[in-house]
């Protein structure tokens, strides 16, 4: 850009305004600024040229140069706003992408579905005041059977196929095996109440099929106190069902049999799929089996260190895998410990 160095301000103004109009980008504007408005620009040089003028013209000239500078400054700012706005709009338009293109890869982990359900169950019981109590996988015949009112040759042993390590040691067939340990450890020789849940892996010597596995997770609940009633069992399980499955849940007790509880019941909840109207999952009954439960048998209380004349308790035990299968519509339990990553990675 040529910068007139004569002192014809009108001509200077015309030239400058042309140059400003011609500046069509931030870079061009920047160049205009340097040429005209910066400390080394034309208006500064004009001010320095004042000395070449006759004295009587100097004041007016100075005033006019300042006016010219101010006008150019104002116009420059306006022009800059326009160009900044336009350039931002252009940039935004240019940057637009197809949002349906694939994402960048990002690592994602996942919980095993059994963990998800187990956590939910334990979380509800912990909120209801139960503490988590864990006991060993390998148990003695006593803890798994004998002390739970199932002496050798007891008919109830037919209900469970057991993996034995030898005549005395076995893989626990249910988390009930921890009941006696919990009572003895926490009950202070039968003087303190106990409120625990016992989660864990259990084992049964069954054929591996789409519906049965040799290992599965259970959660056992045990509450021992001086005035525990079966109605408390019903109330606690109703509360559990409502916290886990919704505020309208109902529970139903059915007669059953476990050697370590008396009375023994199966506890059903309203079918979570059909809401109780009857469907394939609940075999048209409107009810789903939730768990087995009952009042702790006096023999078991006594084995746990409590005087059954003074203390009572209730216990319940539920499987986790069945809920996992129902909830996630998995049709083959073998996926759970077979660990097919194509299934497990769906939980990411």
């Amino acid at each position: 850009m040529s910068t007139p160095d004569d002192l014809d301000l009108a001509a200077q103004q015309t030239t400058a305004l042309h140059a400003l109009d011609a500046a069509d980008s931030s870079e061009a504007l920047e160049a205009f600024y340097r040429a005209w408005l910066s400390p080394s620009g034309a208006t500064t040089r004009l001010k320095r040229g004042i000395g070449r003028l006759p004295t009587d013209q100097r004041a007016a000239f100075g005033k006019n140069v300042n006016a010219l500078h101010a006008e150019l400054e104002t116009r420059f700012q306006q022009r800059r706003e326009v160009i900044k706005t336009r350039e931002l709009a252009e940039r935004i338009a240019a940057e637009a992408r197809d949002v349906t293109l694939p994402a960048r890869p990002r690592p994602a982990g996942a919980y095993h579905p059994v963990t998800l359900v187990m956590r939910e169950v334990l979380d509800v019981f912990q909120r209801m005041g139960f503490s988590v109590f864990e006991s060993p996988h390998v148990e003695t015949d006593d803890y798994n059977f004998g002390l739970l009112n199932m002496p050798a040759d007891h008919p109830a042993r037919d209900m469970q196929d057991t993996f034995y390590l030898d005549g005395e040691r076995l893989l626990r067939t249910h988390t009930s095996a921890g009941q006696i340990r919990a009572m003895r450890e926490l009950g202070a020789k039968g003087t303190k109440p106990v409120r625990v849940v016992l989660p864990g892996l259990c084992y049964r010597n069954e054929n591996i099929t789409t519906r049965s596995e040799i290992q599965f997770h259970q959660v056992e609940g045990l509450l021992v106190g001086r005035s525990v009633r079966m109605s408390d069992l019903k109330g606690v399980l109703l509360q559990y069902a409502r916290l886990l499955f919704g505020p309208d849940q109902q529970v139903r007790l059915r007669g059953s049999y476990f050697p370590f509880t008396e009375p023994s019941v199966e506890v059903d909840i309203r079918c979570t799929l059909c809401g109780g109207n009857g469907c394939r999952v609940c075999k048209q009954t409107g009810w789903l089996e939730l768990l087995g439960a009952g009042m702790v048998h006096p023999v078991v209380l006594a084995n746990g260190g409590y005087d059954p004349a003074e203390w009572r308790g209730f216990a319940f035990g539920m499987g986790i895998e069945r809920t996992v299968l129902q909830r996630y519509d998995i049709h083959d339990i073998r996926y759970l410990f077979g660990n097919d990553l194509r299934l497990l990675q769906q939980f990411r």
């Binding site: 034995y164 926490l186 591996i208 040799i214 525990v228 009375p263 990553l341």
Partner: protein, 821 residues
Amino acid sequence: MRVSLSWLRSLVPVSLDTPALVELLTRAGLEVDAIHTVGALDPLALVGRVVSRKALPSATHFVIDAGPSHPSVSVVSKAPNAERFDVGATVAIALPGATIIDGHGDDFALVTVASAKVYGVQSDGVLCSERELGVGDDHTGLIALATEAPNGTALSAVLPIPDGAEADEVLEVAILPNFARCLSMVGVAREVAALTGAQGHYDVALDELDVVSGELDAQVEATDACRRFSTARVEGVRAVASPRWMQRRLALAGVAVIDHLVDVTNYCMIELGQPMHGYDLARLGASTVGVRRAREGEAARLLNRADGEPAVALPAGTLIITAGDVPVGVAGVIGGSDTAMRADTTSVLLESACFDWPSVRRSSAALKVHTDASTRFARGVDPTLSVLAIRRAVRLWREWSSPDLKVTATGDWQRAPIVPGVVKFTQQGIASVLGLEATKAELTEALARVGITVREAAGGALEAVVPPGREDVTRPCDLAEEFARVTGFDRIPETMPGEALPFHTPSRRYTLREGLRDALVRGGLQELLTYSLIAPESEALLGAEPDETPRLKVLNPINVNRTSLRRTLLAGLMETLRENHRHTPDAQVFEIGVVFLPELPSPYGRGLPAEKLRVSFALTGRIERASMHGGADRGADLFDGVAVVEHLLRALRLRGVEIVAEEAAPYQPGLCAALRKGEKHYGRFGVVHPEACARFDMEGRRVVAGELDLDALLDEAGTTFKTLAPPRFPSLPIDVSMFVGRAVSAGQVVATALGAGGALLKGVEVIDEFSGAQVPEGMRSLAIRLELNAGDRSLTAADAQAVRVLVTTALTAALAAQVRE
């Protein structure tokens, strides 16, 4: 227990429909697993109409419209009256899967309809006669239906089913161990009566035995295992076919029909619950039988084997039946084949006993023989039944096959008088255990329904008199259960415990373990849960432990892959990668679980193995992936393993644990590290040795893995820590380059620098490593960056120089580093 509803109705009036009856039984503890239907009651027996008809050489081919689901069923019928069924005529069709009654011959048999080719034509059903549907006797041709009901209507909705019809429903009832009394029709009928309040008439006509002469002197030696032993000698019997009604009831109960002599003993067992055995007196070689325990080396030929097969060894101590001291059967389980009743039998010794359940259970388990009899004895048989059952059998024989039979002798040995049990209880005790109100009158009425009589005892207490068949009722809690069952568990309200109970107390181990699980998932790893049981051969593929390492093996494994309790989680993870890598080559997995180490003591004592919590991980395939947005594929390497381990240590707030080089299987030498803190060793990680990968069928695949002792890590883990205030002045970085000997680890360099740098030195990071021509022989070049901060002031060049001198001097002195300026 298969319960025929028509048989049940003959014992107790049932006004409920089948679904309501099923519900009632299920809620009282008799869960109905399945409902089997027969004949016209089968839901697959439908109304249909002829769409087309074509004569075949000796049959007729129909196309039947059996409703919207089956609009065009091809059926071939050989019925003589088939040609009378024109297009539009109404027929009864049983579709494949339906159970109908065999129409041929006099014997009762069930047939399951199946698709077949008949004379080369597809036939997908049966057009039925009255008899096949179980609604009448006629089997001369297809039943003519006078109904306007639409096609596909269930026959049961339109066809009158007369009293005594053979069409039936059979409930398959699961009998829990304390419901042994319901392993009989009378037992189930009593239960139905108790639950509905109906009046049963199950006192099946029982004649007194008119014994012609003599008493049988049973030789009961094993008095510890036998409670009652009743016998009768019956002469003048004939083995003919049983009446059709009896065949039918046995068939529906799932019992094979043989001949009247055998059928009656089975019938009495199903009806009353008393197993019986009849010996052919001519083959018995003795006038009576006895009970004793088998001696070493004894054997018997048993009825479950074909004739001519060798005798089965009887384990010493097995409770056996003997004739003249020769074993002729296993007590309560199965009879011997040499002395069994046959077609030519005319004189029978009937044995009807009450054996104690432990003996029968042991025999049954030892011989692996489970029979209808052993099922009942294994759960306990009512000791009052034995003589009743003999009378019932004699009467049934006399009524059909053997009108002239004579009972020539009987015997009835009892260990002790059979008396009712007495249970003391209080009304308040029952009510408070259930949490409801119950008056004495309500209790008395409810218990009376299950045969338990309540009477006043001294001091205001109550006594329940329990019949001998109910030996499951011995305590007040048993009475509470009976009361709740009979009156309905619905009556129990929902309450919350009304006393102070311990609050939830978090367990440190549980909280930390679950926190670690969260951290690993957050870190991008997939959680696995593998089997606790594994094959030692699979663990041996790791090559990490010698073969003779003690292992816990199960005595009765389910298959060869699940024989021993695992000593490591790694084998399970490697197996998982092996099963997945062909379809899922990129995997980053972990498991938290226990391993079983029998050589270490367990805190539980009593010979139990130590159960150690471990965390294990394995990475394979790409850990970074190229995409259309750029980036490059990168396979997992050692330093991804280091990243997992450091992530894990951070999550557990563990300080001062060092990663040090170690060499151990299954890792590749030079790419293996251990975690240590002083003397403590927390496990190892590294790149799995290529040969170990190959042994797991993953040749050429790189797996980075590790397994750490989580119990030990959790012991050291912190739940909280102290933060440092963010510095108010900027940090100053100083880079130091050096050559160090190859034996010197980066970890040593960092530790030496940190130890020497003084208070201003806040951190040391390795920023570069290389080897090459410029590096002196036997050395490598390392560059570290020192982070300096004074906290309360800006740093000066003099500060930096001072720290640099301290660090370089120490590196030179301690590690023989050659620091490059």
